[in-house]
Structure formats: structure tokens, C-alpha cells
Symmetry: C2
């Protein structure tokens, strides 16, 4: 099968998506017997687990991004194409990019997920989510602009609105965002303003379930909540968001409908699979779940199409426990290793036993000094968990200069409580703050509960 022999062209693998799934598959397929084409809309791999630190002014986008070409420089068998796949033809075995057909022998679809508003897309303008670099820059702009506008606001009610931050969703991203905003308000920014006292800031974390971080052990959820409250976050559980409009969040708490007023609402509540999932499902007869994820076979392929594999956040793999694997980086990375190995075996005419995810545990970080780590056999909290979390994340940053720069930034921030990356860009002037008509909606929330209007 050596391409030097000239008898048969090398097996061509097309990978769509350069996230954890796609990039790690490409890296694992570095072999002269195989040609790889990696297609992504962006020219860089984004280390999404640290994106909240871009949104809250600790890191720069480039600190957590690696140019795909640079990462794959030594993979001479791999070609990177910048573009978006618009269609797939599983019968002819090709994908379509800007009207052009790219043929494949094996296809890996790893286009991930984006944040979702449960069908209420109109909420996005009021409550941005966090999946891309641009999302993070926009969140950063809103967070820091709120403090800037508050500094200039003379009306007390409006100032309170500007200093109220609502984070929707108590998963890891929501916990990380709420913790980081509280640290900004009560620590990092406290000496920065002359007119406002940033201690008047309210940070609310809303969660629908009865505890935050539902996938973790209950005692870790409790510890995380305690840590967040120590930072100054108001954790509000059993609270479902039913509407977001302007600066008003309407929630259902038991049988009550309540309203929260807040100038800055951040969305960390739900994800929806990339639309390419639906495309491939329609073409192959595969099924999608409610979140749009493609239900895959035990070997991550599609029924009847052993040469098409779906991995990462786009895949619904429930063969192990009956529940789909979570949309986290370790799942995507293990799936990438598996499909790369499986393609190599397939070329040789062999097959692999079913994919088996090894869960090494879950991590969530709460500010600059605390985290919760659930390794199954061991649970860590507080500073030691934070140290563990930091080392893991630095380890998995793809490029060495990123590791170095992120480590230095963290050590620096740890000792100085400073954050250099709090630039407000993409707009020259503060956004107008339109809270006039809704002043009545900003009740005090000091009792750590939603307040009925």
C-alpha cells in the first residue's frame, strides 16, 4: 500500500472540523500510506475549555489558539483547507466545498456544536453564548463596558442594573464565568473606578436543576456552590429561564414566574450540534437526537457507511451507559485516537472492537484559587484541585509557546490580581445603555433569591 510503489493511490481521509476531534485524528493519521485533508472554517484550533478566560480578560485569543497549519507542519501527508463544507454525497464519496467536490475514501465529521437557545434564537442578542473567539470578545466587551457605563451613570437604579450580571446555566462554563466575573468585581477591578464601588456588583448564576454542576457528585456540587458564594456569586437553583428580553430575564421557580433585571446576561445553558449532522443523517438514513447529534454505531461509524465516522460533540454515542457521552474534550480526543486506529486497521482489512470511553474524571474551576475535581476514586476541592486543573489544561494546550505564555499569565494574575487582556474592542464608543423604560424591574436581589416584580 506504499504510495511509492505506484500500484494504488494512498487512502484519502477527509476530516471536517479542526477541533479536538478533527485535529487529533489528523495528528494520529500522520503516515505516508494515508493522505489527509483537514477542512475547517477557521485557520486555527481553539482550546475551548479556556475560552471563558478570554471572555473575562485573563487571556488573549491567540494564547489559546494554534494555527492548524503550524500544528500540522510536520504532517506532510496532511493538507489543510480553509472553508466550509456545504454538502456531502455518501454514495459518490465526496464532500462539497464552495461548489467543488472533494473525494474521500474515509470521512470524519467533527464539526462540533454551538450554543443553543432551545429554539428561542431571539434571546441571543440579549444573552450571548460562548463558543467562538468572536463570542468571547463580545462577552468581554459587554462585561467591561457595563462597568465603564456604570462609572458614568448618575442614576442609582440604572447603575444597579449595569452592575448586575446574570449567567444562565450552572454547568462548568456557567460556573467558570460567574466565578471570574465575581473575582473581577470584588478583587481585580476594585481600585480601578472612582465613582462606583464595584462591591455593589451582583453576579447571579441561574440553574434549572436543584444543584449546579449536575454531572458531578452532589458533595462536589455543594462545595462548588460554597466556593462561588465565598467569591460573592448568588447561586439560584431550580430556576428555569422562560424568557429573555432586553435587560429582563423571566424565570420559572416552582410555580412562580419571577423576573430578574440585569444589563449583562450571559448564556451558558445549552448546545446544539452543527448543522452538518443533519445533512449527513438525511443522506445516510442515520438518526439525530434532539440536540441534533448524530447517533453513531459502536465503532463511531454510520449504519451502512463504515467509512463515514462522526466524532466529538456532533456524535451521540450511547452504547456504553445508555446515556450519550458528554460534549467534552477528552471524549473527542479518545474518539479521534480510536477512529485513526480504526482507519489504519480498515485499510489492512481488519476491524477494531467497539469504542470504549475511559472516563478519567471531571473538572470545573471556580476562580483563581479553587476548583472541583472528580476523579471517581478521588475527589479534590479548593486550591489543590485548582492546581490539578491548571496543570491538566496547560498540558493539553497544543503548542509550547501557548503553554508558556498561559502559565506566566496565570502566575502573574495569581500574585498581582491583575488582568491585562481586558480590552474593549470592536466598537469605539460605549453602547448606549437603554434601561430607562424598565427601571422598575431592578429590585434588590440581596436576599439571594429571585425577586417577584
Amino acid at each position: 500500500m506504499d504510495n511509492k510503489t505506484g500500484t494504488k493511490p494512498p487512502h484519502h481521509v477527509v476530516i471536517v472540523g479542526g477541533g479536538f476531534g478533527g485535529l487529533y485524528t489528523a495528528k494520529a493519521l500522520n503516515s505516508k500510506d494515508i493522505n489527509v485533508t483537514l477542512i475547517d472554517k477557521r485557520n486555527f484550533h481553539l482550546f475551548q475549555p479556556l475560552l471563558y478566560q478570554v471572555a473575562t480578560g485573563t487571556l488573549s485569543p491567540a494564547d489559546i489558539s494554534s494555527p492548524l497549519r503550524s500544528v500540522l507542519k510536520k504532517s506532510k501527508n496532511t493538507k489543510v483547507l480553509l472553508g466550509e463544507v456545504s454538502d456531502i454525497d455518501p454514495e459518490q464519496q465526496n464532500v462539497v466545498m464552495r461548489g467543488e467536490e472533494i473525494p474521500y475514501d474515509s470521512l470524519i465529521i467533527a464539526t462540533g456544536a454551538k450554543h443553543s437557545y432551545f429554539g428561542k434564537d431571539e434571546w441571543e442578542q440579549f444573552a450571548p453564548g460562548l463558543k467562538t473567539v468572536e463570542d468571547a470578545i463580545e462577552m468581554r466587551r459587554r462585561i467591561f463596558m457595563a462597568f465603564e457605563a456604570a462609572e458614568q451613570e448618575k442614576d442609582e437604579e440604572k447603575r444597579r442594573a449595569l452592575l448586575t450580571f446574570v449567567v444562565v446555566g450552572g454547568g462548568p462554563t456557567g460556573v467558570e464565568l460567574a466565578g471570574a466575573i465575581a473575582e473581577l468585581a470584588y478583587g481585580i477591578l476594585k481600585e480601578d473606578f472612582r465613582n462606583i464601588d464595584t462591591h455593589e456588583t451582583q453576579v447571579l448564576l441561574l440553574e434549572g436543576m436543584d444543584r449546579i454542576l449536575p454531572p458531578f457528585a452532589p458533595e462536589l456540587s455543594a462545595k462548588a456552590q460554597k466556593s462561588l458564594e465565598d467569591l460573592g456569586v448568588t447561586v439560584v437553583t431550580k430556576t428555569l429561564v422562560t424568557d429573555i428580553e432586553g435587560d429582563i430575564v423571566t424565570v420559572k421557580q416552582g410555580d412562580e414566574i419571577n423576573k430578574f433585571g440585569a444589563n449583562t446576561v450571559l448564556w451558558a445553558a445549552g448546545v446544539k450540534a452543527s448543522p452538518l449532522g443533519k445533512t449527513i443523517a438525511e443522506k445516510t438514513g442515520a438518526e439525530c437526537d434532539r440536540a441534533g447529534r448524530v447517533i453513531v454505531e459502536p465503532d463511531l461509524s454510520l449504519k451502512g457507511y463504515p467509512n463515514i465516522r462522526v466524532i466529538g460533540d456532533l456524535a451521540h454515542f450511547a452504547h456504553q451507559t445508555g446515556k450519550p457521552l458528554p460534549g467534552v474534550a477528552p471524549v473527542a480526543m479518545q474518539e479521534a485516537q480510536y477512529v485513526a486506529k480504526s482507519i489504519k486497521q480498515q485499510i489492512k482489512g481488519n476491524s477494531l472492537p467497539a469504542f470504549n470511553y475511559v472516563d478519567y474524571g471531571s473538572l470545573a474551576v471556580i476562580g483563581q484559587h479553587s476548583a472541583v475535581v472528580d476523579l471517581g476514586f478521588m475527589k479534590l476541592t479548593g486550591f489543590i484541585a485548582w492546581l490539578f486543573w491548571s496543570l491538566i489544561h496547560i498540558h493539553y494546550l497544543v503548542e509550547f509557546d501557548n503553554k508558556l505564555v498561559v502559565m506566566i499569565q496565570w502566575i502573574w494574575n495569581y500574585f498581582t490580581r491583575n488582568r491585562g487582556a481586558r480590552l474593549i474592542t470592536t466598537t469605539d464608543l460605549p453602547a448606549p445603555v437603554e434601561v430607562n423604560s424598565k427601571i422598575d424591574y431592578y429590585p434588590p436581589v440581596n436576599d439571594k433569591k429571585a425577586v417577584k416584580v
Copy 2:
């Protein structure tokens, strides 16, 4: 005059602009006898001398930016306001920001300059300039997108267009940009692509005068040109741009009118003072020069208005040599020191002798290993000049974490020839490359001269 005595409120200094002039004035006015209000459109100070490194993918915006509030945290007498001054009333002694009057006792105007197209603003869409973070991100996008598009382009002529970069203006910024792009093409990116050979890239630097870096000694201009040519840049002097449209640059070379074809044209040719200069000139009867700079008195004040001072790139100060001081950071910083001292003396009823700029020399960097330094009594070139340049620039970065991160990035880049910050953001897909209709305009430029079409 102590504000604790309650007899008289502290002298209120309003500073408009947080660049080198404004920020260094605010820092120098940290005194309990004086209240300072610093107004800027942005919430950060930008270290413009390194902006070209953001545009070419070495550094991130945050690496060369310092949040104004963070820099002035310890200046308890200084209030920072985010906003734009729309008007000034020198008689009533106030500035207007979003319809609100802010009274002053002393006013410092330091709103700088932006790039200018000599009245041909329509060129901007084809040839972006480099003054803001957004400018740098846009340049970065165009530069890296050109290589991405070339990788996918099958037509040879179009590929050549995509791999042709024209930098207009042979001052320090133009030299820095051209050198950095050549290093990208011939070094950093050379292993990144599979379809194109980045050595086919053409980088042209156009200069109207008979040599690049006109303010430097002629032998340094010659050395700089030699260094650029060693990097692969085609230096074209005595060449005036007369038109830019689409991907065609029309130039006048002696009596000939010639055309260059290039997909990526970058503008480093001219600057124009901020419009606030015109406003204050009209109100006070001061005069502006052709570039819109306000002609100031020997003490940097305006005639008849000893409490209004204009400094930095916005000021035209020609009392020393008959020629206005150049728009560089050292001028702005020395002016800042002078006006801060002068205000303190004015409060005491004293005055200072005229401002006197001490020129310590000029620097320009050419790629990662070479620079030219003109200290008057000593001229440096090559690596030693580059080292000197690096130390000076790191020294003047405002915040210590920036110094650290920039130093590490440079050392890293020096040894690995890698550049991590080459993200293409602000757009999801490659810009369409419309070169079809103009294919004839892409002649080979290997003879290092403009080619007549």
C-alpha cells in the same frame, strides 16, 4: 492649595487622549493638589510602535495594550472616562462629552493622528492603514487570508496576484511591515502549505523619495534597504502612488505612469491629525498645518490660552529647528513631562522656559534579526541594532506582564521561527478573491522595478 484645607478646590486638569502624550501627562500629575480627568475613546493605552507585530501575527493586541484604569490605579487623583469629546468651549473652560459639559482649569489635548490618504479616502477599502487594534486585526486577516486563498487557487495568474503584497510608504512602519511579511513568506510559513510555494511571494515596498527611511542618515537608509532586500523585499523608491483601485496600484515614476497588481495593499504612507485639532483651532484662533496639526506656542499652549496645551502627534511644534517635531512616542512623552511640570509651576504662579525636545535618536526594525539605530553620535545596524531596539521597546511597554510576555514571544519566535498569533478572525470564510477581470495587470516584478502595463 491643599484640598484638605477646603479653601479652594484642587486644580482640575482634563486630558483628552490616553496615548503616550495623555497617559504620561496623567502619570506625571499624580499629586493630591491636582484632580485629573483622562478621557479616551478606548479603555486601554496602545503601544503603537509594536502594532505592526499584531498585524503580522507575532503578538496579540493585549500584549501591547494596557488598560488605562489599571495603569492609573494608584493615581487616586485621576478619574478615567470612556468616551469621545465632541466639543470644547475655551471661554467657559469646559469640554463636551455625550452632551455633558466637563469643566476644566487646565486642558491637555492629545488625541493624536490617524492614517491618511492625502484626500483619497476611497483608497482605504483597498489599502488599510495601521493605527488601531482593529486596523491591525484587519491587516492580519488580509495577509493570512491571501496565503489561504492562494493555497486553494488553481489559476496561476490569480495565485501570483494573491501572493503579491504591496506596502505603500517607506517610513519605519512600512519597513517593518514589509520585512515582517517577507519573513512570513520566506521563513515562517514555508512548511505550512502543500499546494503553493510561499517563496513565490512578492513583497514590494513603495517609497516616494529617493530612499527609504528619509529621516535617517543616508548610509542607514542604504543599510536598511540592503537588509530588506536580503529578506526578499523589492524596494521601489522614487515612486508616488497616484491611484489605488481594487487590486491595482497606479504609480508615477519620474514621468512614467506604471501599474502594480497585488491582492494585498497595505498603507503606511501618511497621517492626518485627529479632528479635535481643527475644533480647538477654530475656537481659539490657533492655526493648523496641512496635516491638521495645531501650531503651538513655545510652551505647547495655544496663543491667548495658556491653560490649553496640545501635545503629541496632534501638535505642530517647530520652534526648535523650524521643522515640526516628528510624530513619534519620545516626542509625546517628553511633551507630557513638560506640560505636567508646567501646570504644577503655573499653579504656583511660576512659568517654565520653552519646551526643548532632546532627540536621543531614531530606530527602525527590519525583521527578526536586524534593525537600524541612529543615535547621532553612533550608528548601529544588524543584530546589535535589533537587540538595542528590542530592549528599548520592552523597556517602554507600560506593564510588567506585557514586558514579560512580549520578551518570551520574541525569544520563542527567534529560535523557532514560529508565530502563534496568526488568527484570522472577524470573518468566517475567506473573502472572495475577485481578480478575474484584471488578470492582465499581474506582470512579473522580478526585475525589482515597476512594470509598465
